[in-house]
């Protein structure tokens, strides 16, 4: 309170509200302070909330990472991926298998799951480079199904529909304090996913402003023109696939470590659609939009259990209504570019100049 001295003590009441207002305006003006305030709120939530709320928080955190990763692919590069959950599955199963067969610690599996998913992202991306938007959507959808069915059918390796149990939880060796086992401690997972989310937000924000981010934007708006201007379309697209997949791989690895159990039914097409919804409805190129989408799509239905049956019905309706009314998403600035000019307004007729 002190620091501003005398005037404060004389008319303390109006001064306090005024100061608060000024402070909030100050925070409101600076983006960094906004983020810091949000982060502080999330930390306080993590310290105060009960296990049920924290569990929902963890879920929202996982889907935020998935959404952020897919926002690179859909929002930044404009490539519609309908099999995105496959990379999540790859990360989760990689973690599950190496943990249960060889006892590899979680901290090695998390980054390697991201790397493996990125490799698969390139494997999927490479042959599909030439495909147009809607073909790409179908191929990625098929890819997602192939991965899921393979996990389901390859019983010797994945135990089929029964899934894999007993995946090692993360442990943290604290110097001088001994090892801390995450076990089933929801709060610990909450803070871990919070850290991962902060990293993810940071990476996505930096990417959007980077050279490659500009390249993605150019490709999204007009691939041919981007290529003509010297953008390496091939490399930029592959990078978008790889990075997007890496996010999902890391999220999958976290999921496996958190739950301790994976099975193919966690990775169905509906999950892919859910992530697409999160990205598109929030605003595909907007980080805040993606987070908002995750909160709306994951958090709300968990809290409103009674209406959970109607969730997908409402999502479907919501997607249509949103496309009709606000195609750029709730918080999006602009979406997949302007409507094609040639279709809406024809080129102006050239003035008739007499040929002399």
């Amino acid at each position: 309170m002190g620091g501003f001295g005398r005037s404060g003590s004389r008319r303390s009441r109006p001064k306090l509200t005024e100061r608060l207002r000024r402070a909030s305006r100050f925070i409101g003006r600076s983006r960094h302070l906004q983020l810091l305030a949000l982060l502080a709120a999330l930390v306080v939530f993590g310290l105060q909330a009960d296990e049920y709320l924290l569990d929902i928080g963890v879920l929202v955190g996982i889907y935020s990472i998935l959404g952020l990763g897919l926002s690179i692919v859909i929002g930044q590069a404009g490539l519609l991926d309908l099999g995105y959950i496959a990379f999540y599955a790859i990360g989760a199963y990689w973690t599950a298998l190496l943990s249960t067969y060889f006892g590899v610690p979680f901290w090695l599996l998390l980054p390697s799951a991201a790397a493996l998913a990125a490799v698969f992202g390139v494997l999927l991306g490479y042959p599909t480079l030439r495909l147009r938007g809607d073909y790409l959507a179908i191929v990625t959808l098929g890819f997602g199904e192939i991965i899921r069915i393979t996990l389901n059918n390859w019983r010797q390796l994945t135990n089929g529909p029964m899934g894999i149990m007993g995946i090692g939880h993360p442990r943290l060796a604290l110097p001088g304090l001994g090892a801390f086992d995450f076990g089933l401690n929801v709060q610990a997972y909450y803070f871990l996913i919070l850290v991962l989310d902060v990293v993810a937000v940071f990476v996505v924000a930096r990417l959007a402003r980077s050279r490659v981010g500009l390249a993605w934007k150019a490709i999204r708006e007009d691939e041919l023109a981007a290529g003509a201007m010297g953008v390496n379309v091939r490399r930029a697209k592959l990078l978008a696939f790889a990075l997007g997949a890496a996010f999902a791989g890391a999220a999958g690895s976290f999921f496996a470590g958190r739950v301790g159990f994976v099975s193919p039914e966690s990775f169905t097409f509906v999950e892919s659609v859910l992530v697409v919804c999160i990205v598109v409805i929030g605003g595909s190129a907007s980080i805040a939009g993606v987070i908002l989408g995750a909160v709306v799509f994951i958090g709300l239905p968990e809290l409103l259990r009674e209406v959970a049956r109607f969730r997908m019905l409402a999502f479907g309706l919501g997607m249509v209504v949103l496309m009709l009314t606000r195609p750029q998403g709730l918080l999006g600035q602009e979406w997949m570019g302007e409507p094609e000019k040639s279709r809406t307004e024809p080129e102006p007729e050239p003035a008739l100049v007499p040929d002399l």
Partner: protein, 308 residues
């Protein structure tokens, strides 16, 4: 047992049966793609609705159908097909009018997302209405088995194959010979120019959705009769495979879709026979990816450079 020959023949018969159903659904995808250049993601769900409307009509007719066997059977079948086709036709037209038409001039992904939303909506609406459990589809046609060269097939398979071929032939002739068919082909070639020439583009689009949905409804009934079981999620996989068939034949190409459907049915049937039935879907999607990568134009499609 006549050995391998019989096994091959059996797979051919099974493959052609399911392939002809894929072809019927694929026609809806390919017509819409030809005219609007969009993937109608909700098409598979229209097919699913067709099955359920058929079931509903059957339930309504149930008392009379059991009484009137024989001659009444054709009447009941006719009512089931007509009911399903009429409702799916109007459903398809409504979907286009409400969810796609306002977005026609917008970005590429807009209609796709909207279609995905429609698909989710229909699936979940049906699930909430009839429940998530699969429903038994009454076996209207008394089953007869035929043994030919070691292979076994039923009269239902023969009926499905013949009815599908009939519907496909009808569509093919409609598009090739009638005034409306010519209008469809014109719009598919160049919608703007067709409009300048006096073709009512919007009516043609409506007609396209109507025809596609009618065929899907027919396919829905046939699948119900063939497998004897229907559920709210059946449109997803069937739709995906039908789309694969459309792509395989060359999307936008009617005869391609028919060929693609039959080929995909055969590929699946042989794959399932030799690798294992639970890999059936992997084979279908594998075919899809391979075709798109190696020959994006499909078997009968011409390779067009992307319009700028």
């Amino acid at each position: 047992m006549e050995g391998w020959g019989a096994v091959y023949l059996q797979q051919v018969v099974n493959g052609l049966t399911i392939g002809s159903v894929y072809a019927l659904i694929a026609l809806g995808y390919t017509m819409v793609y030809g005219v609007l250049e969009m993937i109608n993601f909700a098409h598979g769900d229209v097919f699913m609705v067709g099955s359920f409307v058929g079931l509903l009509v059957l339930a309504l007719l149930a008392p009379s159908s059991s009484a009137a066997a024989g001659g009444g059977l054709l009447l009941v079948l006719g009512a089931v097909f007509l009911g399903a086709m009429a409702s799916c036709g109007s459903l398809g037209v409504t979907i286009e009018r409400v969810a796609y038409r306002p977005l026609r001039a917008s970005s590429r992904l807009g209609p796709l997302i909207s279609a995905l939303g429609v698909s989710l909506f229909i699936q979940n609406a049906v699930m909430l209405l009839v429940g998530a459990r699969p429903k038994a589809f009454p076996q209207l046609i008394p089953k007869q088995l035929y043994h030919v060269g070691g292979a076994v097939f039923t009269n239902v398979q023969v009926i499905i194959l013949l009815a599908s071929l009939l519907l496909m032939l009808a569509l093919d002739q409609f598009v090739r010979r009638t005034r409306w068919g010519r209008a469809m082909r014109a719009v598919a070639q160049d919608a703007e120019a067709a409009g300048f020439m006096g073709v009512e583009v919007n009516s043609v689009v409506t007609l396209t959705f109507l025809l596609g949905s009618i065929l899907a409804a027919g396919a829905g009934i046939m699948v119900g009769l063939y497998y004897g079981i229907v559920d709210f999620f059946m449109g997803y996989v069937a739709g995906l495979k039908a789309f694969t068939a459309a792509v395989l034949g060359g999307i936008g190409n009617l005869r391609g879709a028919m060929l693609g459907g039959l080929l995909l049915g055969l590929a699946e049937s042989f794959g399932a026979g030799f690798v294992g039935a639970h890999w059936r879907d992997v084979i279908a999607f594998g075919v899809l990816i391979t075709v798109l990568v190696l020959r994006p134009g499909g078997l009968l499609g011409e390779h067009l450079p992307e319009k700028v």
